[in-house]
């Protein structure tokens, strides 16, 4: 194609999940059908890449000094939910059942990748706990090796500081069929089975 189109196809490949063929298709689709949408995307990208920073309080992404959640004074300041990425904040918010605040780590502990407690922002979290407002720290790190390691590290780091620590329940997902469930999850769900009170039978 032409230099500008080639450069657009190459640049599109920065997006996760976009391979060479999809990049070609996206580029020509925008050029043939969606010039306005393409220009709007260019502007949105430019602005977001330049202006979005981290919230000084919870380290979530935002272009303001404090993110909209930290600015919301109607939330319960005794609850702090620790997640590994901003995507997880969206996921927990979408569950519609949490009204506390968040702390966003910059990923999970991964010593092999050089990600230790300092790199993922744990000192800032411990600092925040020192104010004494938080009564319960809810660990919502990923259910992966790195996520579990991070959770264990936090349990140790926080013990004896007067903060209750909880962890998201693990088990069979809603709508999940047992035959498709991995055996570790099923083993855990069996071990952690809950008794049903007689009246509910």
């Amino acid at each position: 194609m032409s230099p500008l189109i080639d450069e657009l196809i190459k640049a599109l490949r920065v997006l996760p999940g976009i391979g060479p063929k999809s990049a070609q298709r996206c580029a020509l689709y925008l050029l043939e059908r969606q010039r306005e949408g393409g220009l709007r995307l260019a502007k949105a990208l430019e602005q977001a890449m330049r202006e979005v920073k981290h919230c000084s309080h919870c380290h979530n992404l935002t272009e303001q000094a404090l993110c909209s959640i930290c600015r919301d004074t109607t939330r319960d300041a005794s609850l702090l939910c620790v997640v590994g990425t901003p995507l997880d904040v969206i996921a927990v918010e979408n569950s519609g059942s949490y009204r506390g605040y968040y702390f966003v780590l910059q990923g999970h502990l991964s010593p092999l990748d050089g990600l230790g407690p300092d790199e993922i922002g744990i000192p800032l979290l411990l600092e925040r706990l020192r104010t004494g407002q938080v009564r319960e720290l809810i660990l919502a790190t990923h259910s992966t090796l790195e996520g579990e390691m991070t959770a264990h590290y936090l349990v140790d780091a926080v013990s004896g500081k007067g903060v209750n620590v909880s962890r998201l329940a693990q088990g069979v997902p809603m709508g999940g069929e047992l035959e498709f469930l991995d055996s570790r999850t099923l083993a855990h769900a069996l071990q952690s089975r809950t008794f049903v009170p007689p009246s509910a039978v």
Copy 2:
């Protein structure tokens, strides 16, 4: 999220195949890991959307007056391949077995969508044939209802003008297994079977 991030997620949805979840994932991936790639994409989009036009000769996409293929004087000017979109030019070029020129229609005939001969640029193609340079018009429109209709229309429009018209061969794709082939293609491949000369047996 914040206004800028929300706008970025919305703007990303202009890309084909990007739904709400992928747009979220793309936006946060760029913000957290690829600010430079995001800025490069913004610039490439902006430039391409503003500067890419159509080649005055073949109607392919290019930012120059003539596209690189039309500028290439080493090609065979007696061959003209008609395709429905710029993506098809790339596909034919990638086959590595064509050294003629192209004419890019703006889609295929589709009366229900209001796409008649004028809308897809057929008058420009007929104009081009009037120079008398083209000896063979290769129809490489899609093998869909609209593509076939476009091909038939062109056969009629060109008849009696001293131009040979050919059509891409249809049949079993290379590496194709018969059990996965649709029955129309298989019926056509049977009808159009070619005899193998004895020496090749």
